[in-house]
Amino acid sequence: MTLDTVKHATETPDAEQPWAALGLKADEYARIREILGRRPTGAELAMYSVMWSEHCSYKSSKVHLKQFGDKKPETDALLVGIGENAGVVDVGQGYAVTFKIESHNHPSYVEPYQGAATGIGGIVRDILAMGARPVAVMDPLRFGAPDHPDTRRVLPGIVAGIGGYGNCLGLPNIGGEVVFDPCYQGNPLVNALCVGVMKHEDIHLAQAFGAGNKVILYGARTGGDGIGGASILASETFDATKPSKRPAVQVGDPFQEKLLIECTLEVFRERLVSGIQDFGAAGLSCATSELASAGSGGMRVELDDVPLRDNTLSPEEILMSESQERMCAIVEPANVDRFLEICEKWDVIATVIGEVTDGERLEIFWRGEQIVDVPPRTVAHDGPVLNRPFARPSWQDELQADAPTAERLKRPAGGDELRTAVLQLVGSPNQADKSWITSQYDRFVLGNTVLATPEDSGMIRVDEESNLGVAIATDGNGRFAKLDPYTGAQLALAEAYRNVAATGAKPLAVSDCLNFGSPEDPDVMWQFAEATRGLADACLTLGTPVTGGNVSLYNQTGAVAIHPTPVVAVLGVIDDVNRRTPMAFAEEGQLVYLLGDTADELGGSAWTQVAHDHLGGLPPRLDLERERLLAEILISGSRDGMIDAAHDLSDGGLIQALTESCLRGGKGARLVVPEGLDPFVFLFSESAGRAIVSVPRSEELRFTEMCGVRGLPATRIGVVDGDSIEIQGQFTLPLAELHEAHTGVIEALIG
């Protein structure tokens, strides 16, 4: 086969090209020809096709994501905003924190272990590329029905992959989510979050400046894995029943990534790097075009110099390979030797593959011939933008009308029925203890883990002297979002925000992973538009800017989409981690207060799912000002030592939270149903803006006065006591019985 050089492409304008097979539309192909003034070479076509895919170009979502910038709240905490590998937040004392959440859904369905593992690997490199030391990971997960045979294939593989990669890399896993719902059967969601810490002056950006500076590729050798993965995996659903159509899977090497981290931090420390980019989707073509596009001037790359694992690869394949654990640095010539020396110290292969030029083109050569000559912006940043049609689904009204009223869904009445319903709830897979999964993750490594699973948020000490720390929680509720995507996205934010505050940290910033079905379906596109609008509005009100995130579309099987699932991560800061608030009720005699208002709000609730397999009505109402007030009280309570434990109320309502706090502390509680509240509603409603706290008697007056002055309803509902949960006049449940129901559930299904 003759090499399709730029010269050859110019001479053969009419050669047939497989643009359609590569996922390009006719108008997109025409635009590429127009940009180049000729037909693209094979290599150029491959580059454009992947970089203009949904996954890399955000062509369907861009117009909606714009709101995160347009409605950005006033804040001086944001040092780097949307557009870079990850946003960077000022947390004080000269420290900056960067965090981001990303999806690896489709690859994890094809090959659960490697898909999930490389998901962790990818997000960690994003954080590293900002100049930060990665310090923790989290993993919000969604699976199909717990008793479905395929869940038994997918779940253990994904969990082992996340653990296998994260543990070997030495990053504590400090939290995440595990949710089961049949809607995720063919589309499990594997979202991965990484957080990193640096000093302000250490921030690095993905930019290539300075003609003559060298482009260094370092890390793993390039092999034939994942070629075309970005476009095929992310732009279409695939048919897993036909193995021959399965795209090449990428295999992760966490050991290589650990070396990459230490080596990269050392070259940062010696200030040898002027621009840096990790390799993600579309590999070399993405990294070089993004670096060149974001910088000034052009770039020239010699593909022959790329270290290969398989020397039969074609130049197109080398460009598109998604081999993991690779990075690309821009280094001044004077620093190249030292850079290579440090790589050698860490057994990391590093090669100069090109340089920054004073031209305006990205030029790539192979065996002396030019195979790519493009304006880098057109590849990396000026991809297509679609205004996809969207419309409120015809079924939305009917769904919302199907409210779980007492008339339509039978509610437990009387102590015995309530008691049974509680055991059923806390023993259901979504509400049960998740330690079979989380005990496969190292949460102690690096020695700075203050809080981890199952606490409301993960908390990491940032500075060992001052005890400055950060807390992160991720949340999402696809059931709520299905009922009302606008409110559902806001509820996800509110829950994560509340979780961070419950541990005593002040919420500062947001990252989000938007998991949806096909954007070509106007119903799904409406869900997406509503969710982004809701999230942007709520972020503005709460003063927490979106710093970055990720969109995963085409999560559907045939015509059936997953529930719209915006997963929101909130990052908070705490001045002194000694003041953190854990969730365990551990002190006999302390008073239990319920903060916030409880209404009859069961639409989309865990109880409707567990007891009736029902989804309908409206999600709980959301009052963002109330959320903010609740957070302030929780933070003040922690800072001033007024509360010893706090736990936010969400899925499963009060009884779920109470069960968790009691089991964790090994102490029971005696509760009274507040005046005017129906016991069932008291125990199972999922009204937003609530938390339970345990207050030492000596602090009761101070605490209730603070709530009174600030206008937050605080109801004394009971006392920490004994070894049962007793709801007076209703039922008594020994902790042992609750423990029995709550634990071992996942094992029994999966293990």
Partner: protein
């Protein structure tokens, strides 16, 4: 009893970090001249009955669906001669 061996190796185009780690270590230990190392799994199955075509077909199916992950691995099945 008859023994059937199933060898499972990563497909050639798939990265083999374990094999690579071994390969990189060998020269340091004084073992030169080894161009490539791949590490895979070996299963030894002791059959209760005779190793006839039907038995082998079943083992091949077990290898295909269970012992190997054919997304990333290839396998071979063979009868081991008595030693």
């Amino acid at each position: 009893m008859a023994r059937v061996v199933v060898d499972v190796m990563l497909k050639p185009e798939i990265l083999d970090p374990q094999g690579q780690a071994v390969q990189r270590a060998l020269p340091r230990l004084g073992f030169a001249g080894i161009a490539d190392v791949r590490q895979g799994k070996r299963f030894e199955l002791e059959l209760e009955g005779p190793v006839d075509d039907a038995a082998l077909a079943r083992i091949r199916e077990a290898a295909e669906t269970f012992l190997a992950n054919t997304v990333i691995e290839d396998f071979t099945v063979r009868v081991e001669e008595e030693k």
